[in-house]
Amino acid sequence: MEPAIKINNLDVFAGKTQILKNINCEIQKKMITVILGPSGCGKTTLLKCMNRLTDLYPELKVSGEILINEKNILDPGADIYKLRQSMGLLSQRPYPLPMTIYNNIAYALKLRGVTKRRELHKLVMDYLKQAALYDEVRNRLREPASRLSIGQQQRLCLARGLAVNPEIILADEPTSALDPISSRFIDEKFQELKKDYTIVVVTHVLRQARRIADNVIFMYLGEIIEQGPSTEFFENPKQEKTKLYLEGMFN
């Protein structure tokens, strides 16, 4: 099957330091790909290249190719708004928009072009249900989103991410700030969502990677050391550095 994302010779420089070195990899459709590696190895930067949030940091110089549907999204002429709407983002800590719970999702829908009130309302409810938040918030939809607990906020952000109707979900250590129950919910949700979405999860937690990954990309100091199907990666690693990492030597 055609990969959802194909990355060729990607280099990222911040000034003179090279953050990503000659990255080549493929993200398979409708699977969970985990980008694994110790802190500061460039995982998050790689993720941000995929929806061009790197544009926000003028000091970053990105070169190479990222192909999505055979188009290079690093092209200056690429439609970044459309690109970003084809991906939902879940960050380390939830960042609800400074609006009501309802409007957090409605805003994403409006950006996607939904304008009719009735349709808007129905879709907001749908996405709240998808993120298993509906029962908890249905009586407080007009309250500021910041009053929710962190776990609820992260589910709201998931609902908001899904509301732009993406094909791909990018998640940057989405459970690192959450309690165990909320974390497990997110992990299980990903298993369910991979039927319809391509999911990329950045993490430095081995256990989480083992639990959810179909494919693993292992990074160290800005380079990809090893990549492949999760069973092979964990049971039969080929590279010396991977073996050391799996034995916990880097932590």
């Binding site: 003028p58 983002l89 960050s91 960042y95 609006m99 805003y107 500021p144 910041s146 952000c157 908001r160």
Partner: protein, 280 residues
């Protein structure tokens, strides 16, 4: 440490009580309503009507805020969201220099530039006869004076908005302007209100620069091209002659008391607004 802290905490009460006792004489003789709403100001006959000064102060202050707030807001948005980082590094010393200039300098500049501009160009262009020394001139000079203060706070506020919130908004496919308009401005609103409130309090109390260009005519202005008189200017211009006329010192103390109460009122109002909009 405790003593100095208590001292600072009691300063406002100290100020208030001194001003109150000093102006008590006048308050007892004339009554609060008459003092505030009477138009006649004849100290030699013991008639002290503060209405022209209060109106003058309010006009100058509100116009100044009206001019400077949009400029500050747009500048802050540009500098923090659109311009290159290098530009912010240039802007900072410029703002600091503007903030540090003595107000007399602004006043002189107002006399040399703003006053002639109003009397020779703006007035005639609108078909209004004006000598230039006016409420409008005071408001112009004042708005320029308070820009650095308001701007500095608003820039600071935009800089404290977390990068991740911007990323979250942009990741939904919003344009940069949509992000600024719908998310950043809303997030920054309590801070913006505080900044404007700070500017308001400063503008209301500013003495020298306004005094030099506002005309100092004791009359309720009928348009912004008329000259006016402000409360701080009243105190500064007349403090030298208080001994010759009975109750005059008491009247000026009352003007000071009014200033204190009004700035206190602004302060409370801002706290109210900040609390109201801080819920997000």
């Amino acid at each position: 440490m405790l003593v100095s802290m208590l001292l600072v905490a009691f300063l406002p009460f100290l100020l208030f009580s001194v001003l109150y006792f000093k102006s008590f004489l006048l308050l007892r003789n004339t009554g609060l309503g008459d003092l505030i709403f009477s138009h006649t100001w004849r100290p030699s006959r013991g008639e002290f009507g503060f209405y022209p000064f209060i109106i003058g102060s309010i006009w100058v202050t509100l116009l100044a805020i009206l001019f400077s707030t949009p400029i500050c807001l747009l500048t802050a948005i540009n500098v923090t969201q659109y311009a290159k980082k290098r530009f912010l590094r240039i802007m900072h010393p410029v703002i600091d220099i503007l903030a540090g200039l003595p107000s007399v300098v602004y006043g002189v500049w107002g006399i040399l530039v703003i006053v002639p501009f109003i009397s020779r160009y703006l007035g005639p262009w609108l078909g209004i006869k004006t000598m230039g020394y006016s409420i409008l001139a005071g408001a112009f000079v004042l708005s320029i004076m308070i820009i650095p203060f308001i701007l500095n706070i608003i820039i600071e506020i935009f800089n404290t908005i977390p990068m991740e919130l911007k990323e979250a908004t942009l990741s939904l496919g919003s344009t940069k302007w949509q992000m600024v308009k719908h998310v950043l401005l809303r997030k920054a609103l309590p801070g913006i209100i505080a900044a404007v409130g700070f500017g308001l309090a400063r503008a209301f109390g500013e003495t020298m620069a306004v005094l030099m260009v506002v005309g100092n005519v004791i009359k309720v202005p009928s348009s912004v091209f008329d000259p006016g008189y402000t409360l701080p200017a009243l105190i500064a211009n007349n403090y030298g002659e208080v001994l010759s006329i009975p109750q005059y010192d008491s009247a000026l103390m009352f003007a000071a008391l009014l200033l204190l109460v009004v700035s206190l009122f602004f302060n409370l109002l801002m706290h109210f607004f900040i609390a109201r909009y801080n819920k997000y």
